[in-house]
C-alpha cells in the first residue's frame, strides 16, 4: 500500500526543498518504510534517465537573431506610442529623486558590512550576464583541467584551483579572466544540464572575507572561502545545484 502521508515529503526531499529538520525526519521515516525507500529509488532512477536523455531544447539561432535588438521595431510594439510627458510626471520624478537621496543617505548611516556581500554578488551577477553574451563565455575553452589551469599562469598573480566535475554532472567548459569591482578575478565555467555556471575565484584577503547565498536579477549566487581563496558561483540553476558544486570543491 502506498505511503501517502509522505508522498509530498518524498519529492521535497528528492528535490532538496525540505528544511533541514523535515529532511532529517524524512530520513528517519525512510529507515522503517520500505515503500518510501522503493519509491525514492524509482524516482531517483527516473530523474537520472531524464537528465541523461538530454531533453532540453535550446532556442534556434533564427529566433535569437530575430529578437536581438529587434523587439522595439516590431509593429506590435510601435502600435503603442509613448505617452507624452506631462508636468506631473516631472513632479513625480523630482519626488523620486528626493526619496532616493533620502534613502541613500540613510543607507550610508548603516553599517556597511550588511550589504557588502550583496553588492559583491550583484557585481558578479553582472559579470555572469556579460559572459553569456555571444563569444564572451571563455578565453580558454577546454574540458581538460590540465589545459585550463596552466592557462591562468602568468595572466593572474595566483593559481586558482581547477577541477573538472563531469562525473558529478558539472563538466568544466573552460576559463576566463574577468574584472569585478576593479580587481582581476579568475572565472571557471561549468555546465549543468544545459545551463552555465560561473565560479569566480580570487585570493581571499581574510578568512571570513565573504560568504552567503542569495538571488539577484533571477540568478542564484553562493559564496564560500577555502584554502585562502574566495569562491562565488553564479547561475540560473536552482540553489541546491550550486550547493552541490560547493560540496564538490570542498571534497577536493
Amino acid at each position: 500500500m502506498p505511503c501517502e502521508q509522505t508522498e509530498n515529503q518524498l519529492h521535497g526531499y528528492l528535490d532538496g526543498e525540505l528544511d533541514p529538520v523535515s529532511a532529517a525526519n524524512f530520513e528517519k521515516h525512510l529507515e522503517t518504510c520500505a515503500d518510501c525507500k522503493q519509491t525514492l529509488a524509482a524516482e531517483e532512477a527516473l530523474h537520472q534517465s531524464i537528465q541523461k536523455a538530454n531533453l532540453y531544447e535550446r532556442a534556434p539561432e533564427s529566433l535569437r537573431k530575430s529578437l536581438l535588438g529587434r523587439p522595439q521595431q516590431s509593429p506590435a510594439v510601435r502600435a503603442f506610442p509613448a505617452p507624452r510627458a506631462f508636468a506631473w510626471q516631472w513632479l513625480a520624478a523630482a519626488a523620486v529623486i528626493l526619496l532616493t537621496v533620502l534613502v541613500g543617505w540613510q543607507q550610508l548611516q548603516k553599517p556597511r558590512g550588511v550589504s557588502e556581500a550583496q553588492l559583491m554578488a550583484a557585481t558578479l551577477v553582472d559579470a555572469h550576464l556579460r559572459s553569456l553574451q555571444p563569444g564572451h563565455l571563455t578565453d580558454v575553452e577546454s574540458t581538460d583541467q590540465h589545459t585550463v589551469k596552466p592557462w591562468f599562469d602568468g595572466r593572474i598573480d595566483f593559481a586558482p584551483p581547477v577541477h573538472d566535475f563531469a562525473g558529478d554532472g558539472f563538466p568544466l567548459l573552460g576559463g576566463r579572466l574577468d574584472v569585478a569591482d576593479g580587481r582581476t578575478v579568475a572565472a571557471l565555467v561549468y555546465g549543468r544540464r544545459k545551463h552555465i555556471i560561473n565560479v569566480f575565484v580570487e585570493k581571499s584577503p581574510s578568512e571570513n572575507y565573504w560568504n552567503g547565498a542569495g538571488e539577484s536579477q533571477g540568478y542564484h549566487w553562493l559564496a564560500w572561502q577555502k584554502d585562502g581563496f574566495s569562491f562565488c558561483a553564479v547561475s540560473d540553476v536552482a540553489s541546491p545545484d550550486l550547493a552541490q558544486l560547493k560540496q564538490l570543491f570542498f571534497a577536493q
Binding site: 508522498e7 518524498l10 526543498e17 534517465s49 531533453l55 522595439q72 538571488e215 536579477q217 540560473d236 540553489s239
Partner: protein
C-alpha cells in the same frame, strides 16, 4: 515605450532566458515550429510589459508570460490540434534539432513520447523542474499556484510519467490528454 536604457536592460535581463522560454514553449506545444512563433510573440509581449517589471526573478517573470501565451495559443488552436492528432502516427516524428539528433537513442525517444502524452499541467511542471531546474518557489510564481499545490502536482506528474514509461501505449495515452 522602452528606449535606450530600458531596452538595454531588457536585453541584458530577459534575453539570456530565451533558451528557457523556448524550451518551455516547445514542450507545452510539442512542436518546435509553433514554439518559435509563440516564443517570439511572448518576448514581444514581455517587452511591452517591461514597464511593469521592476525587480525580482526575470526568468520566472518571462516564463510566466511564455506559459500564458502558450495556453492562449493552445486554446485557440485546440480544434486544429485535435484534428491533427488522428494523423499523428503516420506523420514523421519531430527531430529537427541537430544537437539532439546524434543522441536520439531509444531512451530519449521513449521519454519524449511519454512526456508529450502527459496532461499539459503535468508536462509543464516536469519541464520546469527537471529540465529548467526551477525551485518550487519559482514554479509557484510561474504557474500562479501555491507551493503546496506545486509539490503535490509534481508528485502526481512523476507518478504518471513512470506509469507511462513502464507501459508504453502512446496512442492510448494521447487520447487521454
Amino acid at each position: 515605450m522602452l528606449e535606450g536604457e530600458d531596452r538595454a536592460r531588457f536585453e541584458a535581463l530577459v534575453l539570456p532566458h530565451l533558451d528557457a522560454a523556448f524550451n518551455l514553449a516547445r514542450w507545452l506545444l510539442r512542436n518546435r515550429t509553433d514554439a518559435e512563433d509563440v516564443t517570439q510573440d511572448a518576448v514581444v509581449r514581455a517587452f511591452r510589459a517591461f514597464g511593469t517589471y521592476r525587480s525580482g526573478n526575470a526568468r520566472a517573470w518571462l516564463l510566466q508570460i511564455v506559459r500564458n501565451t502558450c495556453f492562449t495559443w493552445l486554446r485557440q488552436n485546440r480544434m486544429a490540434a485535435e484534428f491533427m492528432e488522428f494523423d499523428e502516427t503516420t506523420m514523421p516524428q519531430e527531430s529537427e534539432n541537430p544537437e539532439t539528433l546524434a543522441l536520439a537513442g531509444s531512451d530519449r525517444e521513449q521519454l519524449t513520447r511519454a512526456l508529450e502524452a502527459l496532461p499539459e499541467s503535468f508536462r509543464e511542471i516536469l519541464v520546469l523542474r527537471e529540465l529548467e531546474g526551477c525551485s518550487y518557489k519559482e514554479i509557484a510564481e510561474i504557474t500562479s499556484r501555491p507551493i503546496g499545490t506545486v509539490m503535490s502536482a509534481l508528485a502526481r506528474a512523476r507518478g504518471q510519467l513512470r506509469t507511462a514509461l513502464s507501459n508504453p501505449a502512446p496512442k492510448e495515452a494521447r487520447r487521454a490528454v
